[in-house]
Symmetry: C2
Subunit: 297 residues, 2 copies
């Protein structure tokens, strides 16, 4: 059975698995803290996955999702803020095993490709993906092709401007969506409202489930802003589907209604017609599945 190896390099962890042609995970999703020798670690993860899969599986390619940009002209990795060692790497020169070529893709781009192939946007030719975790990432498919822009930097949905006079953003701008609607922002909003410090948005979600009105309000506020952004993106891309993925998508019940209401309020009527707005279906595996789609070979 043919398979592709997919690996998703996060800020602090690496996930990997072998993926079948139909998007099924053929091996358990390995999830490890990132090692300083990232390429060595990827080779190890590949070897372990291949061993687990056994001899009935033939690996025909490998793909890597990275939290950074890939130059669409050269295929080389550009800026990767959390993994500077990857910068300038030409994946065509890397082999995780003899004869195994490597493809590479931005992680949010990989996730939208996976949701389109196997998940919430199946069959759509025009898709906008918002991926909300620690930050807010984005991926856009235009007429079946990834939107890359001139230098692979496109689809930075987290850096749409919500308030030009808002707080400074690490990107250098001000008032970016990521400052209001990321997991980090949800936790900060809750702390600002209650004076209670939390470990992150997951803790706020637990409080919201337990009925804490301020925790619910933190999620509702983020949902509304994500919906306003999604509406603007719908007016811009006229897609079939808008998918909200990433860690925060796991608690869609805490903000999905607010998000959908804002989309309905701010999307132009003809554009809204038939528009699907849905949480991602692939969860933690989206990046790995998308990386496998980006595999060459």
């Amino acid at each position: 059975m043919p398979a592709r190896f997919g690996a998703d390099v996060g800020g602090t962890s690496v996930r990997a698995a072998l993926v079948g042609a139909d998007g099924a995970l053929l091996t358990p999703l390995l999830d490890l803290p990132r090692s300083p020798d990232l390429i060595g670690q990827l080779a190890d993860l590949y070897a372990e996955s291949a061993e687990r899969a056994g001899s009935s599986v033939t690996v025909v390619g490998a793909g890597l999702a990275i939290p950074g940009a890939v130059d669409p002209a050269t295929g080389r990795i550009g800026s990767v803020p959390t993994a500077p060692a990857l910068r300038g790497l030409d994946p065509a020169e890397v082999r995780l095993a003899p004869g195994l070529p490597l493809g590479v893709c931005n992680d949010a781009n990989a996730a939208v490709l996976a949701e389109r192939a196997y998940g919430a946007a199946r069959g759509a030719r025009h898709v906008v993906g918002l991926f909300v975790g620690t930050g807010v990432g984005g991926g856009v498919v235009v007429d079946g092709a990834l939107l890359t822009g001139r230098a692979g930097l496109a689809a930075e949905i987290g850096h749409l401007v919500v308030d030009p006079d808002g707080p400074p953003c690490p990107c250098g701008g001000r008032g970016c969506l990521e400052q209001y609607a990321s997991g980090t922002a949800i936790a900060a909003a809750y702390t600002a409202a209650t004076g209670r410090s939390v470990t992150g948005a997951a803790e706020v979600a637990l409080a919201a489930r337990a009925g804490d009105p301020q925790a619910r309000a933190a999620y509702a506020g983020a949902g509304r802003l994500l919906g306003v952004a999604a509406a603007g993106l719908a007016n811009l891309f006229n897609p079939e589907a808008v998918v909200l993925g990433g860690g925060v998508a796991a608690v869609w019940d805490l903000f999905g209604d607010d998000l959908v209401r804002a989309v309905e309020r701010h999307t132009m009527p003809l554009t809204r017609r038939g528009l699907r707005v849905a949480p991602g279906r692939l969860g933690r595996a989206a990046g790995v599945l998308g990386a496998a789609l980006a595999a060459t070979g």
Copy 2:
């Protein structure tokens, strides 16, 4: 000499000319109030242009720019709010003269195609065009191709949301960019600040040129918001060029600095690198030139 006929149907007027392969106007730009028999009027404008051009010019196609949507799948005209008679028209079935096929294109899309071919974005493969007149229109070129979306409704830049609680917009939404940064909005902002009613943004521009600080502020405010929108669009499309066209572009000196400053403040550093931000160069002829580019034949 081969030429294409281009016609730009506005809300109340029609412009037309014959265009050479290099984008030169081969006949004077005719500009008439729109007649109820629009197709008949277009045929007349074609006949007049062909007569003026004389026998050295061979017309090989005709194109129409419309203030509405074109279905990318069928080529048929969709919704055209200011010209309902065009709705459902299949341009392939229209002949302005025997043997002369007709192409059709959204007007802001036509304008960005023209600016890319002959104007401020020459040679760029990724371009965002904002067209500011009575309203705010948009056109986007992604890797050399027009962004159409699923149903030809994409690139509605005027309906990005500036303030979710802002004033209602005719589109059905609220707080759309068009409510803050169109010619109409510039005139309204001036009237709100001074109590003086004006005929439109052109009158405010005259006042600004004469040193009226509130007129200058109305343009500066619009420029800043257009710059914030342009920055978001740059972060989204990672283009080589952002072009600001339409009637308001003629007074770039009144808001260009504010626009560029906002772009610099809100665009991600790598995306900003080498990004051109410039006023359109084609003025009133942009739609006609773009329509000729959309000509079939």
